[in-house]
Amino acid sequence: MAVFASCGEALVLGMASGPACIAACGPVLVPSLLAERAGWRPHVRYLSAFLAARLLGYMLFAVVAWELGTLASMLPAPRLLMMGAVYVLLACVLLWYAVSTRRSCAPSCTDSKLVQIGESRRRGLAGAAALGLLTGLNLCPPFVVAGIRAAQLGSMAAALLFFAAFFLGTSLWFVPFISLGCIARNQAVLTVARMAIALIALYYLSMGIAMLLGKKSYGY
């Protein structure tokens, strides 16, 4: 009974935190989805890979949070370091995404290969999975709340279950992103997506380096 209550709590917490999750993942997800081919199928595939890897990130974090038990992982200093490392890795993947694209495209090119990682589907999904994993490890405020709650549970299995239910709750908010598949792709959309990915990567890189150096994120 306690397990059900805990799962219900995690589900509701996830659903309630959805907007915050979208806000945190939006800068990574929206431009990278726009860089995909048009149509709902590629978007479902991309989003599935992204969310599956995000779930993996959640689970990894659940294990760490529960193993450390005393919420050591939530202390400000290691949290800053962890976020810094995640941000730098995220920036690297995004830059790779933006830069490792096929440039040899005719002016009339409407093929999504302009901004795909390599050519094969597998590599495209690898990119989505890498981004999903790293955003899953991104310590956004709702995630920290879930981590604290999971660490208070009696067993690792319960903590894992809690995070799985939390993940389900937040994932519902990601379903509308599939609609980005309706936007027709042309050279303009793909170039904009690629440039936006690079800009966002630069932001994460600068923030990540600042965090690793122990600096505050904001200059006030």
Binding site: G26, A188, V192, M195, Y203, K216, S217, Y218, G219
Partner: protein, 384 residues
Amino acid sequence: MATEARILPLARPAPRGILRSLLLTLPILIWSPLMLLFSPGSSTKPVWLISSAITALFMTALFFMMMRTHSTYRWRRIFFVSMGILFPIGFIHNLYVMRGSMGIPIEEMIAGRTPFCFMPIPLLILPAAFTRTLVFPGSIAGGIAAMVGIWLALTLVMGKGWCSYACFFGGIEEGVAAIPTRARMRKLDPRWRYLPWAVLLAMVLLSLALFEPAYCMWLCPFKAVSEYVAARNTIGLVQNVIFVLLFAGLVIVLPFLTKKRTQCAWFCPFGAFQSIFNKISIFEVKIDLSRCKPCLLCQNACPNLSLSKESVARGETLMSCMKCGACVDVCPRQAIVWHIKGTQIAWKPERARLMFLYAAWAMAIMFGGTIIAQGLAAILHVFV
């Protein structure tokens, strides 16, 4: 109507008569002093009255010249550059009088004592939609609602004309671009035209994630000549270095080398956002293909890179057209015309130009005129 279009002369029309030009200028002659002397920011101090009178005369004279010469761009540019130069003078003077510094501390921002700028308007939309909160640190009653309302009303009519007649930032780079006699950088990669959209997308998403107007905090080049974040640690210093570098690169160096408004064409997210409204605005610039002999003088003249070979072949400008009139003025065959949507191309283009210019100049006086008057008042304040 088609016949009428065809009988338009190929040569530039002779100057209008003085009396007719004066008659056409009459509405502006009335509007200028009314707007400048009775606007909310006005006062009865002699310095303000003098600067307002000078500005009203200046704006009226420029409009008169537009009417007399049939030319738009060069007279608009005089106004626009004057606004660009006088905006920082008036604004910084005001900051020093009010606060004693150009740097704004966080306490002031939280207290909502931040003058509202139109730049973050697109950045406010998503946070407001998700949380019903404005992430701009200013009070709604203290100007945001009024500013957004006025902007929206004008934008629906003018489209991206805002960027050529009301934006108080664009004048600096237009002034710098006018200095060299020829462009030193001629080969410009057309893909850079997409960058403002990318900046817009990235900043809108980051503003939602960070819950702050990310562009104002990190990328606005004009912070270098207006109100910057008071640097209290390394990150703050980095922010200000970014502002200065972007200003130097996009507003000074690149316009000088390219003779283009590079910040507007390649970076400004508000400009990209404003482009969307060109689809709604009733005024547009069109190319009469029956008269066009694609010499591409228009493409070279466009300060915003809003014309390409492909768009000229289609008989239209790109979505980013700022309606500055440079292409219309430069075309030797008068193939580029002001146009009102729903009418036939080249049907009474001068009438379309007049209707556009009345709306644009009224807006220019409302925003730019007040800014010019404030700048002049700041200068007069020093000497008088």
